[in-house]
Subunit: 236 residues, 2 copies
């Protein structure tokens, strides 16, 4: 009886896809909302483009650099805890064995049932440490080389996303017939389309229903832009 490969059925997005999604979700939303908000208050395309691009620079750096430093801290935290477990497995093996048994007891296994695996693990100290890291502490081994690539991917996706809603305003700076109002309408149309497509694709990768993901993503952008518009108009 032929069987389809069973292991691949639980699809999870690759790391790069995840980074693109993180950066682009915010990049499409916040500069869009900011530019739309400012249109409610300021009738000057140059100011809106300046604010939008300043936001794209600030947001992409905050996300990228922030993510990079957080990933480095995670890697160091992991290394520190790994050292500690390594030491404890040697220095207080009974205590660590009790902890392994506790992990299994929380899954309904009696002390007697978990005893063989506790003993088996104790024979492989290196694997034992890995086991404690993952199952006692819930820590996954981070890839130190990924931090930089990940930061760069997130920041680039933010910039790419942010330029979409700003493009109509940039064009309006050069085309004299195009008013700020026209630029806003075009920006809303282009960005809603981009949010729908992005949400749809994101849904396919993350396991949410694509149509629903598309609508949710467009909703976040719309609510954020609407709130920014109302606040900007209220102040000015």
């Amino acid at each position: 009886m032929p069987q389809t490969p069973h292991t691949e059925r639980h699809f999870t997005a690759g790391q790069t896809v995840r980074d693109v999604v993180i950066g682009m979700a915010d990049g499409l939303t916040v500069p869009f909302a900011l530019a739309a908000g400012l249109t409610g208050a300021i009738d000057h395309v140059g100011v809106i483009v300046t604010a939008g691009l300043a936001e794209v620079a600030a947001g992409s750096i905050a996300m990228g650099l922030g993510g990079y430093l957080a990933a480095r801290s995670d890697a160091e935290h992991y290394a520190k805890e790994h050292e500690r477990e390594k030491r404890e497995v040697v220095e207080i093996p009974e205590e660590e064995m009790r902890e392994v048994a506790q992990v299994f007891q929380s899954y309904g296994l009696s002390h007697k049932e978990s005893a063989p695996i506790v003993e088996a693990l104790a024979k492989h100290p290196k694997k034992w440490v890995d086991f404690m890291m993952r199952f006692e502490l819930g820590l996954e081994k981070p890839d130190p080389k990924r931090a930089f690539v990940s930061a760069f991917t997130i920041a680039s996706a933010y910039v790419a996303g942010g330029l979409i809603p700003l493009a109509p305003y940039i064009v309006a700076g050069y085309v004299k017939q195009m008013t700020v109002g026209n630029a806003l309408l075009l920006s809303v149309a282009v960005t809603l389309a981009a949010l729908l497509v992005f949400g749809f694709v994101k849904g396919r990768y993350t396991g949410t229903r694509p149509t629903r993901s598309a609508l949710q993503t467009a909703l976040i952008g719309s609510v954020a832009a609407g709130a920014a518009f109302l606040i900007a108009r209220a102040i000015s």
Copy 2:
């Protein structure tokens, strides 16, 4: 021999602290950088305040609502996978038992060593499913009620953080003697102080050295603000 409680030594931040950190990190950084950037291009305090508050509205909603919907999707993804595992444990138990054995083999245990635990788990189908969720799929059971609280906490922290760098500009709107340049200097001083304190406290909760965390957080804010300033000045 008295022993200090061993289980609490691996400190991880509580959920609320984590949400405040997420919201405030971006809230302190992006509105600060945007306002500083605009000061490089626009000599008009009202525009900077409008753009800043519009950004705070957009950013807090994008983070809060985005987080809320993502948490709900996660909860549904978990429920779906949980249903599937529950079904598979009944329908293809041999396959699932092979998967449990694989998890343990990846930790260096032989088939014989892992056999007792595989059999023991098979006797407790409910716990077996929980085990597969966590150890095969790496999914933690999400708390559905947390999504809303979490979203609200992140958004509030973003607003609270964002008002700090904007406060000097808001004051400058009322105090005629205060120029945009004064507001920028005051905003830089107040925000750098806030970033240092925030980074320090964050470090204590997340396990990074507090001094280093303080400097890193201030660095992210400074680089983002510097880039926004240069870009805004280059365009205008």
